[in-house]
Symmetry: C2
Subunit: 549 residues, 2 copies
Amino acid sequence: MSTTWEHLAAEKRGRIDKSIPSEWKISKPTQASVMDVPANSGILSAEELKITESTATDLVNKLAKGELKAVDVTLAFCKRAALAHQLVNCALEFFPEAALAQAKELDEYFEKNKKPVGPLHGLPISLKDQARVKGIETSMGYIDWIGKYETSDSVIVTLLRKAGAVFYVKTSVPQTLMVCETVNNVIGRTVNPRNNNWSCGGSSGGEGAIIGIRGGVIGVGTDIGGSIRVPSAFNFLYGIRPSHGRLPYARLANSMEGQETVHSVVGPIAHSAADLRLFLTSVLREEPWSYDPKVIPIPWRSQEEEETKKKFKSGGMNLGFFNCDGNVLPHPPVLRAVDTVVSTLEKNGHNIIPWTPYKHDFAVNMINGIYAADGSTDVYRDINASGEPAIPNIKDLLNPNNPKIDLNELWDVHLQKWAYQSEYLSQWRLAEEQLGADKTLDAIIAPITPTAAIRHNRFKYYGYASVVNLLDFTSVVVPVTFADKKVDTKKEEYEPLNELDKEVQEEYDPEAYHGAPVAVQVIGRRLSEEKTLTIAEEVGRLLGNVVTP
Amino acid sequence: MSTTWEHLAAEKRGRIDKSIPSEWKISKPTQASVMDVPANSGILSAEELKITESTATDLVNKLAKGELKAVDVTLAFCKRAALAHQLVNCALEFFPEAALAQAKELDEYFEKNKKPVGPLHGLPISLKDQARVKGIETSMGYIDWIGKYETSDSVIVTLLRKAGAVFYVKTSVPQTLMVCETVNNVIGRTVNPRNNNWSCGGSSGGEGAIIGIRGGVIGVGTDIGGSIRVPSAFNFLYGIRPSHGRLPYARLANSMEGQETVHSVVGPIAHSAADLRLFLTSVLREEPWSYDPKVIPIPWRSQEEEETKKKFKSGGMNLGFFNCDGNVLPHPPVLRAVDTVVSTLEKNGHNIIPWTPYKHDFAVNMINGIYAADGSTDVYRDINASGEPAIPNIKDLLNPNNPKIDLNELWDVHLQKWAYQSEYLSQWRLAEEQLGADKTLDAIIAPITPTAAIRHNRFKYYGYASVVNLLDFTSVVVPVTFADKKVDTKKEEYEPLNELDKEVQEEYDPEAYHGAPVAVQVIGRRLSEEKTLTIAEEVGRLLGNVVTP
């Protein structure tokens, strides 16, 4: 008698449950927001609470001086991650014993050599369940993959390990990774720690949730259509979608592996831009281009960072902005967030100009076609292998009866994409010409989603995020505000742009969204991580959203 | 009555012929080598001969100081290019009037502003007939494309124009671009100026031939499997195949447009490494990444160049080498060239270690599969559109009855390629570990083809060149020597590695190849243009092959 998929899933859930020591167990909470539970649980000591509420930058500084021990930091985050999982259902793998053993080795190294192994010495880092860690399973939310134990690390894991990071948890993803909510048939749905009626975003939703509730300080996500940025936005976090080729993706598990028309990229999610920088500089220091042939040999360019900071401090930025892409108008809280950023920047002397989204409708259609190019053969192979059903979001998005495009059609898509990207650059140059001699357009401020942290099963429109993927631009999320029913009233007598816009507008309910996090993205040109991250950091500083302990 | 393809080709040949003023016409030569004809033709003045035998670096220096006029330099190269075409049949387009008009404008600018427009002010640059030039046809050797006049420039042409370059000729290519000899049904075969029994190489064969006989000083070629390097090697020239994304390919015409599994790249061919550098720095100065989204924003890294030069001068290079890839053993002149380079480097104190070609047989099979991935649908569409036949090399290589691979199969190829590239990097790291702490393997010396400049219709094996394309490594050709019947005797009692090797070995004839140019390639890791070019330049300097006027 063959094992049913439900049985396999239950068994795996049991294993996750067993990985949490009984002394870290709590009773299921009943309230919508669980943000305060860790502090009140009695499971973390005051010191452990302080550790988990620090920045990564502070932690690595203290670890490097011997003021903190890797074991203590790891234990604190293991405890808080255990709570996080019980509260928001975010872990696909939890391995505190291995983590503590790794931390112990690092402490021993420090004891013996009186120096850290690298810039992340003793820092726990949480991993989306695409990252392969030797000895640990990678199911990526597919029932069929349950029981696949890894014999080696993904390249990013290897390099983080060399830099001194400790691994302790791998977080949940939506089945197939191709949607911006986090539901699979292995553990079900991951919810937003601020309100269990809201999504934590996706596909790096487990990371968004665990970092949001500080069960982790830096999380590793991936992004092919918003999957780093949406969870960052929905959990009031910073996140960076680097351009393809900046960080090593080699040997990460993935759906539609080998699809290279639009690349998924890997990047960090954290509470501050400084912690994102710590991650990027630490990985680049290991020269990832010597391990992953897709990584471009560009070390961290401190000079660009310095120049950008200087220009920002002088009030001399030229920034574009848009609040509507012409397809779907964002909800009032998102419009207000863009307004807030624009007016704050203007007040600080920067030159903010309207940016006309260039053919975003065309781009959204193109990228949707790319996601479905193989008639969803690849994802349904992995879904069907176990007999599990497709989750509702996937049923809506990926139809297995759609045709697979042929190779010459794909080549046409490549040409169209290249032409579109070229035209977008022309628009950028045109804007610079209009700004005047030798002026640069430094970045563009835009929404990431049309909604604040969304209610479950309502995610309809990926275009604000996915056009950036098609362009392969660098994008950094800056948390801005929270939806407020008193100011973000529903638009009356709005004439929808189209059927989809109508659906999205109808979803807005000031009461239901009250308190939901809202962010913007700072979009820079391709491979502009240093500059774009610096702008995002300075925007956050002006907003007062630098760190939110 | 419809026009036959033969008629269209004849008409086009007539137009090319008419583009040469009668006072530049010469009678058809009968000798095998035409290298001396320009100097003895009486068509160029002594000053014009001197100009055409200068380096580009010298010319732009003099043009920038007003010591030379753009019109005089352009006229000299137009005359010599006209001779070149009559001697080796290398031009698909020749437009001296437009060139002289462009040069006149540059002279007027200089007169008025007392400064050059850019670093290439007044320098004629020849273009492979993939480059689009406003107002000029692009046939690319396809009969069906005859009469396609361009309304705008390719990006590289735009940027070269901004830098001050003058365009006067577009050179021949093989039908489809996919072979390393230069034959099409429009103008027939381009031959090697050193011996009309030898190929000029391909697919940038027109460039190899015209630069070889100094009808141009820098030529623009492209390379997807050796197409810059083979013509450079066969004409005793330097050439660089930059990694994908270093120089702008946008809006160049191409076969199999949109095929992005292995990218064709654009790069220069010249008589010296210094002239290649002049080209690269001049294009990068225009920030091509603002025009072509595929270009990576890396300016010319002078520091890497300086560091490499310093390390080379100190005799501290660690270089790998191989003379056989395990598939096909090169002919004796090529083996001698590799030996010469190795022993010269060793004599100068460098550390030269054997490199074991890693699974090159696998790589060659993979890239051949990629070239044919669409069942040659694309190329036969363009061939068949006019009714012209496929040239013999193409008939051998691309079978229209081969199946087209499907999208999921392509994704598998992408994964295999990525894994192979990763394994190659592992081999590189392993070699560095064996070298010892903090040592880098700086480059690898290898053959480009198994033969010296080859006899017509004998090109069989692309693997020495094409594996570099699959790896997307940077490669620079260094001319080394000439085949010599007295020393390069035929191997007796050789046991062939396989059937192809046997065929290639049988082709060697010391008499027929006597005097044919032989080169090696210096292979650096991806996007290592500054370092690899510097090594190539210094190798050339040690060999005494810096410039060959």
